[in-house]
């Protein structure tokens, strides 16, 4: 299957939404892709769905395999690591959206 290039941003755009639920800078978190074995940080992921949404999808910069999904809803952040099912819903501090 060929893939056309479509716009994506780098994983640093995840810093804002994830910072509300992490005590350390999440963009430095390290990950080794289970599919192509390429190492990357969250900040280096290719992120789709910025702007219009419906959620942010972070993909391996090497093979585009799913690395994480983040869905912000009022009062909560849903975070799913890896490409299986089963997201965690974090409560957001009331100051955050």
């Amino acid at each position: 299957m060929n893939q056309l290039s479509v716009p994506h941003l780098d994983g640093n755009v995840l810093a804002g939404p994830l910072a509300d639920v992490f005590a350390v800078d999440p963009t430095t978190a390290w990950h080794r892709c289970p599919t192509c074995r390429m190492p990357s940080s969250i900040g280096e992921l290719h992120v789709y769905g910025t702007g219009p949404g419906p959620g942010l999808t972070g993909r391996c910069p090497g093979c585009a395999d799913l690395a994480l999904r983040a869905v912000a809803q009022p009062g909560h952040l849903w975070l799913q690591i890896g490409n299986g099912a089963g997201a965690f819903r974090f409560p957001l501090p009331h100051s955050a959206r």
Binding site: M1, N2, Q3, L4, S5, V6, P7, H8, Y48, G49, P52, G53, P54, G55, T57, R59, A64, L66, R69, A70, V71, Q73, H76, W78, Q80, N83, A85, G86, A87, R89
Partner: protein, 199 residues
């Protein structure tokens, strides 16, 4: 035609009763993505419907386009709050495809070429209100909008209308899909604002 677009107030009035709560009308067609756009040549394309017992039926592009074609004009509603009125599509009614496979299951998971999935109650796919579409506004459906073929289920939020669909799988349980397992609602009725899991 003049170069002026009709006033916003006028249009809103004309579409009164057609805008679900929390939505705004748009004339553009925003592209929402969860990954790279797959490019699937029609000669490599197929759609497979599989029952909960494993019985299946597959259509090639030629076979699918030889089925009776319908031309729905419908309003679509995205969970990101835009709605687009009177969109024109061509394709095959899902009734035509689903009735070819015997099943007692109450749910369907749509699977796409890019790995995307979404779950749907069967009753939302039958009764002449859901389609497999391959053209938009008289032209072949562009890859960024889900071409060569996508689902069109206009009475639900548009994330349910899976782009680049390649399979419909009957399931006895309602299995959450790509966004449903990350917080989005299992059903997604825009008139009831079923955006998130507990809405």
């Amino acid at each position: 035609m003049s170069g002026f677009s009709p006033g916003f107030r006028g249009r809103t009035h004309a579409f009164e009763g057609r805008l679900p709560p929390g939505q705004y009308p748009t004339e553009s067609f925003p592209v929402l993505s969860a990954g790279p756009t797959p490019h699937v040549p029609t000669e490599d394309w197929s759609l497979t419907v599989t029952s909960e017992t494993g019985e299946s039926r597959t259509w090639s592009w030629e076979e699918m386009t030889a089925l009776p074609q319908q031309h729905p004009t419908v309003d679509i509603h995205c969970v990101t709050r835009w709605s687009k009125f009177d969109t024109r599509w061509s394709g095959v009614g899902l009734d035509t495809l689903l009735e070819q496979v015997e099943s007692d299951a109450g749910f369907v998971v749509a699977e796409s070429y890019d790995g995307y999935t979404t779950n749907l109650p069967l009753e939302d796919l039958t009764g002449n209100k859901a389609w497999l579409v391959h053209s938009f506004d008289g032209y072949p459906l562009a890859p960024e909008h889900g071409g060569p073929a996508r689902l069109l289920i206009p009475h639900l939020y548009f994330w349910k209308s899976a782009k680049w669909v390649r399979a419909l799988r009957f399931t006895t349980e309602n299995e959450p899909g790509f966004w449903e397992s990350a917080g989005y609602h299992d059903h997604g009725d825009p008139w009831r604002e079923q955006r998130y899991w507990n809405d």
